[in-house]
């Protein structure tokens, strides 16, 4: 099996070692995306976020997405990590990354990892504003 996968769901995610983890003697390119908490949504101030997950299924879906990306772009390594629990502005909530021989593959794979994670992985985000809290995307 080509392609080493690291999938994790943690309370706090550390971004400092991600490039070392994705490093591989046959990888000339490593692309990593980090999603973080933004201060404003539609001009309203977000005080914090709260992430909840159906962990056993989320890990399975993340693994499927990693396998799809490895198959499609011939990746050497993949990392998918998501945080749960309360998160403040600027805290990282998701890290996805891919390493491959050339840069085109890792850029496309990294974009696929985050786009597909947002579509399929059972994780829910609640935005906490001053006077209300909202489960993101729940209603049309």
């Amino acid at each position: 099996m080509k392609g080493n996968i690291s999938i994790e769901i943690f309370d706090v995610i550390d971004t400092s070692a991600v490039f070392a983890e994705l490093s591989h003697p046959q990888s000339g390119g490593i692309c990593v995306f980090v999603g973080a908490v933004r201060e404003f949504t539609d001009n309203e101030e977000v005080l914090s976020l709260e992430f909840e997950t159906y962990k056993v299924m989320a890990l399975k879906e993340m693994n499927k997405i990693a396998l799809e990306a490895i198959e499609k772009w011939n990746l050497n390594k993949v990392v998918i990590r998501h945080a749960v629990g309360p998160k403040n502005v600027e805290e990282p909530v998701v890290v996805v990354g891919a390493s491959s021989a050339h840069r085109d593959a890792c850029f496309k794979a990294c974009r696929y990892l985050i786009d597909t994670l947002k579509e399929r992985v059972p994780i829910w985000k609640k935005e906490i504003f001053k006077n209300k809290s909202v489960w993101v995307s729940a209603h049309p």
Partner: protein, 80 residues
Amino acid sequence: MEVLLFGIAKDIVGKSSFRFNADELAPGSVSELRERLKRSFPEFGKLSSLAVAVNSAYADDAVQLKEGDEIALIPPVSGG
């Protein structure tokens, strides 16, 4: 038969899981489960989407449910 609830589904039902009390009352398929939920909790009908997972994988309406399955309601996901 136990059904796990997450995100807004948990808020709608008011708890993080519920059981069908007697096996003979449990829904036989994903579509039946979905119909029953919308009848008991009309708020489910207002969501952007409502998926069902059986044994931690997405299951479409035709999937049959049996005792011992781990069932979960998956309201619109919003990770990342």
